[in-house]
Amino acid sequence: MVPTNYYVILSAILFGLGVFAFIFKRNVITIFMSIELMLNAVNLAFVAFSQALGKLDGQVFVLFVIVVAAAEAAVGLGIIILIARNRQTLNVERVDLLKL
């Protein structure tokens, strides 16, 4: 059996990749996908801990996270479509009306 540590480390790596992509990518869709990656890293951690602790509640949490991520995706994609229509671009560096 694969030890729990490995799963947790994998989830940390996935989370880190998500943070990295969030900071360095310029396309809104890619940034949005990096957030989804971070949320799924969380799911992996929950399931791994749930298995290690021998409790089921961690797996229930995953269902909640999936539902919330879906709601967030619906709203987020709506906002991205709005941006794309208003400005004809998906590059966040060109969405820069609000600044000092």
């Binding site: 809104v28 957030i35 929950f46 961690g58 709601a71 967030e72 709203v75 009306l97 609000l98």
Partner: protein, 487 residues
């Protein structure tokens, strides 16, 4: 297993808000009248706030400890309920002026309020997460409510991306805490061994996630942009509601979990100093009123974090004298919410159709054109500054006292320095309003009309600011109750 009736009582305000939100959405296709929805929204926010009394009378833990209905919850439910009531009053005329759909706005406002209520009453981390997301997801939509405006959609995008980023941190923190302690219930977590690295890491991530929500530096960069771009009544909501709810959760976490108190003292110390300076120094150079108030709200989050540092440092010494520091946070959030709502409502109304007149120059000679409005705005700004006879004075005074009592002298000094910096930009607005001549076109345009709803908001916030500024005892006595937080 069906929840007991008493459980329902304990989440009654949230049920009310959600119910009215659904009702508004259901009626939207059938009813044309805009007044009708405003009336329904006023009724709904009052019903939810009234229900807070019912759940306070039937207090105690609900849903096997997922939520907690105690005095602390009651305070925050009243606070967010009143905030949403005032936002409805201010938003009605605004939405009419900007020719925006009205029913959806109120539905979203209700869901956001319900989320804040859940956040304030959560005794379990995943429940808190659901509350946080309920309020955040509605807020993302509200920020972009002026769909055709480039600024508003940009504000929604920034808020959405950074808000979800913060949420992911918060959630990963929950996962690690769950892994370390095997539970997400705060009171069970308090009983576990608090020394594991995993727990420390998880708590740190939770702090980062909530730091984003309360706009603590270095996680504050989104605040000015989002506040500037969002419709102004929504900005008023953001500055008062979600922030108070996130602070409520932070307060509850480390009132309950001793491990959190131990590790968060220096984190709060550093966050408080960074946030105060980031807010006040940023505000110095602003020429747009909404941005100025946004930076000022960052600075105020910094002052509140000073009280948090005081709470943690006292709890570290093992004394139970942290109660005045808790009271300082609660009173500050109350006084601050009143003032910010009033100030943003004035800014919203003076902005005119399309929110064009937001620059500081548009406020030149306001005292000649609209003496009452100028006087009101001055009172709000003086309360933000913390002058006596306003609620802001006692708010700042209690925080100062808490910091000194817990021997955080250097932090108190830094706070005083920041108040002086703050004086410069608050007084500058007052000087512009009273000492400068209005521009020719502003003088020609005549006074901006103030509709009934807006006047009502100004009256309520003004009376509240002065009342709590001269007679804060009832509130203070309530929040100094020994059983403020039931465990």
């Amino acid at each position: 297993m069906f929840p007991r009736a008493i459980d329902m009582y304990r989440v009654l305000p949230e049920l009310m808000w959600c119910g009215f939100g659904v009702l508004v959405m259901f009626l939207q296709p059938f009813v044309r009248g805009r007044q009708f929805f405003t009336f329904l929204a006023l009724l709904g926010s009052l019903a939810g706030t009234g229900a807070a009394f019912a759940s306070f009378l039937h207090g105690g833990p609900g849903f096997s400890g997922l939520v907690q209905s105690d005095s602390f919850t009651f305070f925050f439910r009243l606070l967010v309920g009143s905030v949403s009531f005032l936002v409805v009053l201010a938003a009605g005329p605004y939405l009419d002026r900007e020719k925006l759909p009205i029913a959806e706005f109120y539905a979203l406002l209700f869901f956001a309020t319900a989320g804040m209520g859940v956040l304030a009453s959560a005794q379990e981390l995943l429940t808190a997460f659901i509350g946080l997301e309920m309020s955040s997801i509605s807020s993302y939509v509200l920020a972009g409510y002026r769909r055709d405006s480039l600024k508003s959609s940009e504000s929604a995008m920034k808020y959405f991306l950074l808000g979800s980023f913060a949420t992911a941190f918060f959630l990963y923190g929950i996962a690690l805490v769950y892994g370390a302690t095997g539970t997400t219930l705060l009171d069970k977590m308090a009983l576990t061994d608090g020394t594991s690295t995993l727990l420390k890491l998880g708590l740190a991530l939770i702090l980062i996630g909530l730091g984003f929500k309360v706009a603590a530096a270095p996680f504050q960069v989104w605040t000015p942009d989002v506040y500037e771009g969002a419709p102004t009544p929504v900005t008023a909501l953001f500055s008062a509601g979600p922030k108070a709810a996130a602070f409520a959760l932070l307060l509850r976490i480390f009132a309950t979990v001793p491990a959190a108190t131990q590790y968060w003292f220096w984190a709060f110390w550093v966050l408080a100093v960074l946030t105060m300076f980031a807010g006040n120094l940023g505000a110095l150079v602003q020429t747009n009123m909404k941005r100025l108030l946004a930076y000022s709200s960052i600075a105020h989050a910094g002052y509140i974090l000073v009280a948090f540092a005081a709470v943690t440092s006292m709890a570290q010494g093992g004394s139970s004298e942290a109660a005045p520091a808790y009271a300082a946070v609660l009173f500050y959030l109350l006084s601050y919410a009143l003032v910010k709502l009033g100030a943003f409502t004035i800014v919203s109304q003076l902005g005119g159709t399309g929110e064009k007149n937001l620059s500081l120059d548009d406020y030149a000679g306001l005292s000649q054109r609209q003496p009452f409005v100028a006087a009101m705005l001055s009172i709000y700004l003086l309360s933000l500054l913390g002058l006596p006879v306003t609620a802001g004075f006692f708010g700042k005074f209690y925080i100062f006292k808490a910091a000194v009592n817990s021997h955080l002298i250097s932090l108190a000094v830094l706070m005083a320095i920041n108040s002086v910096i703050g004086a410069y930009y608050y007084l500058r607005v007052i000087v512009v309003m009273y000492m400068r001549e209005p521009s020719a076109e502003a003088a020609a345009a005549g006074p901006v009309p103030f509709p009934l709803g807006v006047n009502a908001v100004l009256l309520i916030t003004f009376v509240g600011t002065i009342l709590f500024g001269v007679y804060p005892n009832p509130v203070i006595n309530f929040i100094l109750r020994p059983n403020l937080l039931a465990h």
